[in-house]
């Protein structure tokens, strides 16, 4: 990993006495490799390296007895800084329900995360209704229904013929009437390049004015994470991101890249298949994970 690699590099650099800018450039090459290996977007890496090399040529590093450690510190704090901005708490509605829409690509974990979020809020004393607004995927509403039952949270599935927008509109009326604290909407997977399905989401948002539109992203997503997030953000002005499947060994550079490019915060992370496997996002922990 980068930390042990740097220990080796800087050990032999220390023997030379003072560091010079060329040594820093060599360290930056290794940082670039580590970030690319972690699926940080190519153009984001370029920008990060530019910022880091400036800081690394300062005298804290050049005159330090442990320059390797100093550089690692700079990298970590730079990555943490990128992921720290924005409101990482949920935006609440002044009157119930607070409406949260979950959107994202196929298979990233929306349905599971919808139930996880309901459970998380329940633990905090809030009531939720889950909405199965995916009439396309075979057995999608049954899937959410079963998850809801496991945690004793009601699931609205609407009529069989309802379009996703219709289902969501009726669910809002019911949630307002029953005064649920939260209305959590599970939508179907889609491609960001499918104009029809992206328009469906835009219409849905227009109809129910959610307090949060959270983009669910698989932590193992590669270089396209930036384009995916950009498109969802342009069409829906998303309010945040949930990064899933962080219980794997995926480094999660997609999360950093998305933060950097669209400036929306990561609000939660998925760390397993169980309904309690949802936790808050900690930028510093993520930075260490990405560096490896």
């Amino acid at each position: 990993n980068l930390t042990s690699k740097f220990q080796v590099i800087f050990k032999k650099l220390r023997r030379k006495g003072r560091l010079n800018p060329k040594d820093i450039q060599e360290a930056c090459r290794d940082i670039k490799l580590a970030l690319l290996q972690a699926d940080v977007n190519f153009r984001v890496v370029k920008e990060i390296i530019a910022n880091i090399s400036k800081k690394a040529e300062g005298k804290e590093v050049m005159q330090s007895l442990t320059p390797g450690q100093q550089v690692i510190k700079i990298v970590k704090s730079e990555l943490t800084r990128i992921m720290e901005g924005g409101e990482s708490d949920l935006n609440l509605s002044p009157f119930p329900p607070t409406i949260i829409m979950l959107v994202g690509l196929y298979g990233c974990g929306k349905t599971t995360t919808c139930a996880k979020l309901g459970y998380y809020l329940k633990q905090k004393g809030h009531s939720s209704m889950l909405v199965a607004a995916d009439p396309y995927r075979p057995a999608a509403s049954e899937q959410l229904k079963i998850l809801g039952k496991r945690i004793d949270i009601p699931v609205y599935t609407g009529s069989e013929e309802g379009s996703p927008v219709d289902i969501v509109k009726s669910s809002k009326i019911l949630a307002e009437k029953e005064m649920y604290d939260f209305l959590l909407i599970d939508t179907s997977g889609r491609l960001h390049i499918d104009e029809g399905l992206m328009e469906e989401l835009r219409l849905m948002k227009e109809e129910i004015s959610p307090n949060e539109v959270l983009l669910v992203v698989d932590a193992m997503t590669g270089q396209e994470a930036v384009n995916i997030a950009k498109t969802f953000n342009e069409k829906l002005d998303i309010s945040g991101v949930i990064l899933t499947k962080l219980d794997s060994d995926a480094r999660g550079g997609a999360g950093l890249s998305i933060n950097m490019v669209i400036g929306k915060p990561i609000k939660f992370v998925g760390v397993g298949e169980g309904l309690s496997d949802l936790s808050r996002f900690y930028p510093e922990r993520m930075a260490s994970r990405i560096i490896g």
Binding site: L36, F42, I146, G222
Partner: protein
């Protein structure tokens, strides 16, 4: 201006960026660029189209010797569909079953995901849509026992292909890898030559972690091929180049959409064209 005689540094940087953005990965990208530099004396300075053609040729050469065919040399044929969570295993299993059925073979889909909510219902609906029979048992049952009973049935009936859909799992979960190993042993015991194919489904939008997935599944289970799902997305799936050149696992199938007909046989030529598209 023109370093390296044939290719400018600017062009090399552009090539590097394009390959990395396609998830080819930094190591494989460096190897491809080194190969390009080796043959740059053939390049007319400034001829960018020529560079592109040479790049396509280099990548094609890496991929061309893969075995892209499914092993149907021995019937009944048993195919295991494995992979991490949400990549497209269940839909791929259904697509593959329809392909064989359309070719006139008798197919049995096996629902061995007894864990995830609605997994069996999902596959039942897809099997019905594909017009293929489904073998299923109780939720919560040991998946190995489902495989055992399914393959015992295959031995009794005149079934040509059994396609076993498995539950998603993280390759980092030791117990779930062991569970797959146990299922594989059941296949070996019950049917001659089984499993004839162990197809690892990868999501085309996945980055470098796909390599780690492939390595772990290969080391623990012997993987015969990849099925690259969701290639209809904007991702290029470039990681499969490294997976073939370093792990020896070829792509055999490509998933291109939610419909049951959205399954293609891997073509290195088409893949290379799309990579540089």
């Amino acid at each position: 201006i023109f370093v390296n005689k044939g290719i400018s540094q600017r062009l090399i940087s552009e090539v590097e960026e394009r390959l990395i953005l396609a998830d080819v990965g930094i190591d494989t990208t460096s190897k491809i660029i080194d190969r390009l530099k080796d043959i740059q004396h053939k390049i007319t300075p400034g001829n960018e189209q020529q560079v592109l053609d040479l790049l396509k040729h280099i990548v094609y050469e890496i991929l061309r010797d893969g075995n892209f065919h499914l092993n149907l040399s021995q019937l009944p044929c048993v195919i295991m569909i494995i992979g991490v969570n949400g990549v497209g295993k269940t839909l791929t299993a259904a697509k593959l079953s329809k392909r064989f059925k359309d070719q006139g073979m008798s197919v049995l889909l096996v629902a061995s995901d007894t864990f995830r909510a609605s997994a069996i219902t999902q596959l039942s609906l897809l099997a019905e849509r594909a017009g293929v029979p489904l073998f299923k048992q109780k939720e919560g049952q040991d998946p190995s026992s489902v495989v055992y009973d399914a393959l015992s049935l295959v031995n009794k009936r005149d079934i040509d292909v059994a396609i076993i859909d498995t539950s998603g799992r993280s390759h980092t979960n030791f117990n779930l890898i062991k569970e797959l190993q146990k299922m594989r042993k059941v296949c070996e015991r019950l049917i001659d030559g089984a499993p004839h194919e162990v197809l690892l489904v990868l999501d085309a939008t996945t980055g470098q972690n796909a390599f780690s997935q492939a390595k772990v599944f290969r080391d623990n289970l012997k993987v015969t091929g990849l099925s690259l799902a969701k290639l209809d997305s904007s991702s290029k799936g470039g990681i499969v180049i490294a997976i073939f050149s370093e792990l020896g696992i070829p792509v055999k199938l490509v998933g291109v959409g939610e419909g049951l007909d959205g399954l293609l046989t891997f073509s290195p030529r088409q893949f290379v064209e799309a990579l540089f598209d």
